[in-house]
Amino acid sequence: MFFVAIYRFFKKHKALLYTLMVLSGAIFAFYGLKLQYEEDLSKLLPVSESSEAGHVFGNLKVKDKIFMQMTGAEPEVLAAYVDELMDSIMTTDEGIANTLYRIDPDIALNALDFAMMHVPSFVDTALYPQFDEAIANAGETMAHNQELIMNDETGALTQMVSTDPLNLRKCLMPDLSSGVGFTLVNDHLFCADSTVALIFISPDFQAFNSHDGRLLMKNLRHHVKVFNEAHPDVEVLMHGAVVRSGDNSRVMKRDIAITVGISMLIILIILCFSFKSFGMIWQNALPVAYGTFFAMACMYWLKGSMSLMSMGIGSVVLGVAVSYCLHVIVHQRFVGSIEQMLKEEALPVCLGCLTTIGAFVGLRFTQSDLLKDFGLFATFALIGNTFFVLVFLPHFLSEQECKRNEKVFRYISKINNYAYESNPYWVAVLSIFILIGIVFSPKVEFDNNLKHIGYESDNLHKSENLYAEKNNHGALQRHYAVIAPTLDEALDANNVLSQTLDSLRRAGVLTQYTPAVSVLFQSEKEQQHRINAWKRYWTPEKVSEAMTAVRKAAVDNELPADIFEPFRGMVEGDYEPGDLYESGIVPEGLLCNFIEENEGKYLIFNAVRMNPDHKGVVDECIAEMPHALVIDPFYYTGNMITMIHRDFNTALLISAIFVFVVLLFSFRNVFLALLAFLPMGLSWYVVQGWMAIFGLPFNLINIVISTFIFGIGVDYSIFVMQGLIAVQNNEGTRLLQYHKVAIFFSALVLAVVMVTMLCAVHPAINSIGICTLIGMASTIFITYTLQPLFFRWMMKAPFMKKKILK
């Protein structure tokens, strides 16, 4: 009666009604449109306060690198092409932190200079026995030196030999070049066989930030396209987290636009055809738009911004909103009286709204910002929509307008009025369908691999395969890191990690590991320790022994004995620890592959190759080490998604309890409440069971949509329950019929949306379609069959009938 009173009040004060509606609508639209959108998929993940890894991981630059590859021409030509393409790309370097595609000769010169100034810092104390061997083998080494000197035309090699006649450099840099796996052509980076030129681009944002990612990818694609037009003979491929994220964002937006566009067109045609009225369009659209702007404005006032992804998921909730509009419009067209419509619809619509909100309330208890945003947005959208439907919309409905396509409605009546509950075969089939669902429901799997809900383009796939084929040789390349508050602590921790990785390599678990960082970078403390060891080793006696051996070997090989004074200078020199990281010698594009400063913490990376089967073992082994990290976004997101899944089960339980309590208060009868709860409860198990049977796993996206199934399931059952009670109260089947027609249209609208979603290319949107379609179908079947059947059985009990009939 409350809404009838409001209706009567505004009927007498139309100007106030329109002012209130336009003004509130304008305010909501004004503030709603100010809402900022984040396209950061990482918001999907819970905020982990305990995990050092999770906290820092999102900001890592090394995992966001774009791998660009160029192939299809001679190496020298490709090298020139790479310069051309990169010159073009770097004209607008927005979004790019640094690039690496060539190693200029000065880097080697500067590195050699630094090495000469800090020789002892690079000598592991374990190497000194090899020095003894080198002194003992001076004769053999000198023969090789003699060859180098005689072939030297510039004096550079002679300088090297005179400084290191014992070839100690070989002990210091064991197989470092082979571990890198790349080769240089005209100073440009190539894969080992020189057929593919390599370009690494580090963005200045996170890969999950799909907005900035899309802009950078658009820019890169433009330059690649222009380049390819000029050089159609070569192929440029790209992969990496940013490429993947950009592709995802692009395809998701395209899919949403296409599916929503097509489904809206079909829905409008169906509604206009069925009701012979174009007014249906705006009568459905206005409340939904009002609810949406209200929700956006509330999100703006509360948070200022929200995830675009959560808004995308939230748009599915608009299906429920349309359902309320349809109930009011359809009912009014049947009864022809707005006041009567409000008397009969206000309670079920309000109850439906409250229970649907209840279904989303559980999401507030998850740790994921995105899920919280989704729950909040859906709640506000439903409140705004329901308010418009019950307060403003009745004034736009005409009591005289009862037009409808009788032929269509006859078919609908046939479908709706069929006594499904009286057909024992149908009941048996449905029961078996539900039973199978319940039995198989524990078998449903949760796919915690975020990659599987992402879109992969052909170019990306080809690029990844080419890179793996040329550089990893069928092995899996993986990165592990250490993290510490200071660089020195990180370097010390990296020595421990490096030893572990080296032992894994020796055990055959890793096929390749090069301790590049521990060879090149050491903490000041370790450097001082090494300098002291150097001094202890190069005693005057040892220097004399070495020089004697060198001189003798030189004379034996017909070389002047006094050209090796630089060697004496090197071993007798005074040294101090150096700081290669801060020296500026290693260019940023190269350095960030080794060390990265991130939020005041230092990370050191180690690349390894392994048999893909060993991934799990190695990951676990490294993740257990103090300060160590597995550099794979999906290793940690996998854990986080499992957390969300656990969270989500709790959220569903909270929602279910909330919905049941509301139903209990509303129907004031535990059996009726249970019966109204039945479609929602059973359909959840049916969805799980049948997804398990079809081998479809739940993922982070479609499991969220299951709350929507809860919402719509409880709505349908409330409306049918109201109709069934009216029948028992001898008010006729009229109310039940009207509600069923509205349910029919609501289900049809949602079914159209879901079917179009099945045609989507993006796996996440596609998975929503299948999951929701199964849920919707089971909800409708249970509501149309089991609910009336159980209700009829309950009414056979006299005490129950007495309780309900009032």
Binding site: N110, D152, E153, T158, S162, T163, P560, P566, G569
Partner: protein, 177 residues
Amino acid sequence: MKKLLTIVIAMLTFAASAQKVECHFTQTKFIKASGKTVESEGNFKFNSNENKLEMNYTKPAGDYFIIDGKTIKINLHGKKSVVDTEKNAAMRVQRNTLMNCLSGNWKKAAEDNNAVTTQTEKGGNKIVTLTAPKTSPRGYAKIVITYRKSDNLPVEMVMEEFNGTVTTYKLSNIVKK
């Protein structure tokens, strides 16, 4: 007044030391280890005001060694590199030594390298020798520079490395700009 006088003297000293010359040069590198001698030649430009030195080789043609402020640009048989002397201590020492020696500021060069200096005169020339006090893996064991007494311009520079390699530069047809 004393202060002003000091500034004027400093300015005059700077103007006197400022040099801008162009000439032809020959470079002879004797590699003691192999007994080989590598002969080169080219054009030499030096501008102490702009901290710029250019050695453009005509033999081998195309090679160059250019000091431009804090940067050294090298083309050695087609292999080009640009070295930032701020990041490369050895190149920084080489740059400073060369610039100081060529601009007549050999005392500064000796100071930077902890070198022992001797000075003699022969004919119309002044010969300055910088000798390193101890063996080092890099740098020069000895640098001998011959300045023309009339205008204090270098005409010959001999640089001896610790491994016995000796590089001799001879400057001729010197034109002051």
